[in-house]
Amino acid sequence: MKNAILTASAAALALVATAGYASARDQVQIAGSSTVLPYAKIVAETFGETFTEFKTPVVESGGSGAGIKEFCKGVGENTIDIANSSRKMKEDELKSCVDAGVKEVQEVKIGYDGIVFATDIKGPDWALTPTDLYKALAAEVVVDGKLVANPNTKWNQVNSALPDWDIAAYIPGEKHGTREVFEEKLMAAGCKDSGALDVIKAGGQDDKAAAKTCVAVRKDGKAVDIDGDYSETLARIDSNKTGVGVFGLAFYENNADKLKVATVNGVSPSTETIASGEYPVSRPLYFYVKKAHFGVIQGLKEYVEFFLDDQMVGPEGPLAEYGLVAAPDAERQQQRDDFAAGKTM
């Protein structure tokens, strides 16, 4: 017993000592958005298979904010090389990066992601507008020229064309990047379109407060925040057949045999309508690279170049097949040129 412990300890010490962690990192490390994760995984895997001289990059998930925070910790082998993000890096985030010594950050836009509303496959067809969503889901709506707590309980009270279903919407929780898009492109737009914004402003709120009132979601249980992933939203729809859920386009396309998608402003979401800008609810996806790590971390530059190659991000590539909306040709070329020129933020 005692001898076994001694031998094992000695073996472990020897293992740690011989391995020596000072050796240069030969593997790209990536962290960030869970929306970008599937795309980064596909590229990382194909990269590892194509360039046998490099190791497959390691891709962590954990969210855009967490990824950027890790990214901005500083430069050096113990920090990550790339941060995936489902939104643009904020000014103060960039500032914290620069303060920590990450002076040169290259921004790469990889394409667009659509956000769709879907119901159970057996439900009726849905045609939504931002106004409907605002009236159904806002905390306070305008009734007879006055701002009151949302009285609507059924979808057909909001718009008679919608079915007679109790309002039950599963929307992304506040930590998700998707929530921002939902608020900005739907709630705020619906607030403005329905004329509620003017009433709120007339009620004495300044621009900032009015914008906040517009995007406040009702908290009476009719709109449910989903903090997990889309698979959780799908499970909710599975158990409540009259629920409406918010999904990413890629997730919907992978589960199109279980879900029926709603049109927004009469446009059905697809890679084509999102690329053309007809479908209103989409957002660009990014990743950020540390310029200081080129030449230090093996394969980093090659990985970014491989990612931007049309065989990956192009409209015929595996990312588009999974559900990414490819950027237009000129924009992709622009990204490649900017990267090659070493353009920093």
Partner: protein, 438 residues
């Protein structure tokens, strides 16, 4: 004893019935037994539902649909300029999926010039054939120019459809397999060249974005490294600390504070240890991110209190008579502890250690912050290379969109449960075999 005194005694008269609440007490006991049974049944029902749902969803993941294809290793495709002797890279970069595509077209009787049909074949066979065929050719270049029957993996959607997990009654546009692919699938099955085979890949592959080539191999290696580190560090430190605290340390306020702190640490949420690991091991000591070494160190910190508490309880359970006898025969304090007390406490210590290890094996929260919740495709060669752990792999797969990952997730849960069960059974067996009752 006279007759007179006898007479005064009451003669065999039954005592007055006192109400001792016999009925009520029996009823209370029956009720209590019923509550106990009900509690156990509820627990068992939940366990059964959980196991049934996991096994029901997961058993199919141990089978993977494969297709037997006569692959012609055509030199025109692999090495058109015949340069493989001067440049070995030619064999690595060749377009191997085309070989499988052609072989499949031949099997199905599709002409290679029929573009729309060939396009519909896309995704029928897994993209993993690139690596599979490449490894075959690199290992044995003499294959070039020959034809060989090779089992290749079917694509994930075909695999799901073959197992009946895709509802074929849904409109064709709304599902991931076309009617044409289903017809081909049935044709191949009738020919006997498409069948479900045991999914060894689930145990050997690393993480992958393709369900059919995704496995828990890297995660098992990562978990193994971490368990080794936990065992090697936490057991000696934990046992040494408990022996000192239990046998040698004076009982004063300081040791009381230490004891309270150890008990508190055992109850600290594991994510806190992750934060500590990030701050100390990665940011301060500069150890690499995502490495099993850091994961093992964090889990060691988490397991230490459990081991210390179990060890102290085991040491305290050794009767004082053993110590007194040893001391009385002239043994020193150290000899008493190491020759008599520790051997008797060993079964309890081992049980506590194994239960602590089992808990560490199932942890994901502390690993999140040190970068181990990650997509890792390459096997780690040392504990310093990036790796994942079994529960992390389950978590990652739970978030995937593809249908085929759902069964793989349940499959991975089954594998984890088997490991946990094996560890717990070992603990029980050790206890049964070596435990002494006094």
């Amino acid at each position: 004893m006279t007759d007179a005194t006898l007479e005064r005694l009451p003669v065999a008269k039954a005592p007055a019935r006192r109400d001792i609440g016999l009925k009520r007490r029996y009823a209370a006991e029956r009720r209590f037994r019923f509550y106990g049974l009900a509690a156990i049944s509820v627990g068992l029902v939940f366990l059964a539902v959980m196991l049934l749902s996991i096994f029901g969803k997961g058993y199919t993941s141990f089978v993977q649909t494969s297709v037997l294809l006569p692959i012609t290793f055509d030199q025109k495709v692999i090495d058109p300029q015949n340069k493989r002797d001067s440049d070995p890279n030619v064999l690595v970069k060749a377009n191997y999926p085309v070989l499988a595509q052609r072989a499949l077209a031949e099997r199905l009787g599709i002409s290679p010039t029929d573009k729309p049909q060939m396009a519909a074949l896309k995704g029928f066979v897994s993209d993993g054939v690139r690596t599979q065929l490449r490894n075959m050719v690199v290992a044995d270049p003499s294959l070039i120019g020959t034809t060989k029957d090779v089992w290749v993996l079917a694509g994930a959607n075909i695999d799901s459809a073959f197992k009946g997990q895709i509802d074929l009654d849904v409109a064709e546009g709304n599902r991931k397999v076309s009617d044409k692919q289903v017809a081909w699938m049935n044709q191949l099955r009738d020919q006997g060249v498409m069948e479900g085979k045991f999914n060894t890949g689930l145990f050997t592959f690393g993480a992958s974005s393709r369900p059919e080539t995704a496995g828990v191999g890297v995660a098992i290696v990562g978990s193994f490294y971490m368990m080794l580190i936990v065992l090697v560090l936490a057991l000696p430190i934990g046992v040494a600390a408990s022996i000192y605290l239990e046998e040698f340390a004076p009982k004063n306020r300081l040791t009381d504070i230490i004891e309270v702190n150890i008990n508190n640490l055992a109850a600290v949420p594991s994510i806190v240890f992750g934060l500590l690991g990030l701050a100390v091991f990665i940011n301060f000591m500069g150890l690499p991110r995502s490495a099993a070494l850091v994961g093992g160190l964090v889990l060691t910190l988490m397991t230490l209190p459990t081991i210390i508490i179990a060890t102290r309880a085991a040491l305290a359970a050794v009767p004082p008579s053993i110590r007194s006898a040893a001391l009385g025969l002239g043994a020193s304090k150290t000899q008493t502890v190491f020759h008599h007390v520790l051997p008797l406490a060993t079964p309890g210590i081992l049980t506590g250690t194994i239960i602590g290890l089992a808990r560490a094996l199932g942890e994901t929260a502390p690993l999140l912050l040190i970068g181990m919740v990650a997509f890792v495709a390459d096997y780690p060669t040392t504990p310093l290379d990036p790796s994942t752990a079994l529960p992390v792999q389950i978590y990652m797969w739970a978030n995937e969109a593809e249908r085929a990952f759902v069964e793989r997730m349940s499959g991975a849960i089954i594998i984890l449960l088997v490991f946990l069960m094996a560890m717990n059974i070992t603990a029980i067996v050790l206890r049964r075999r070596f435990e002494r009752h006094w």
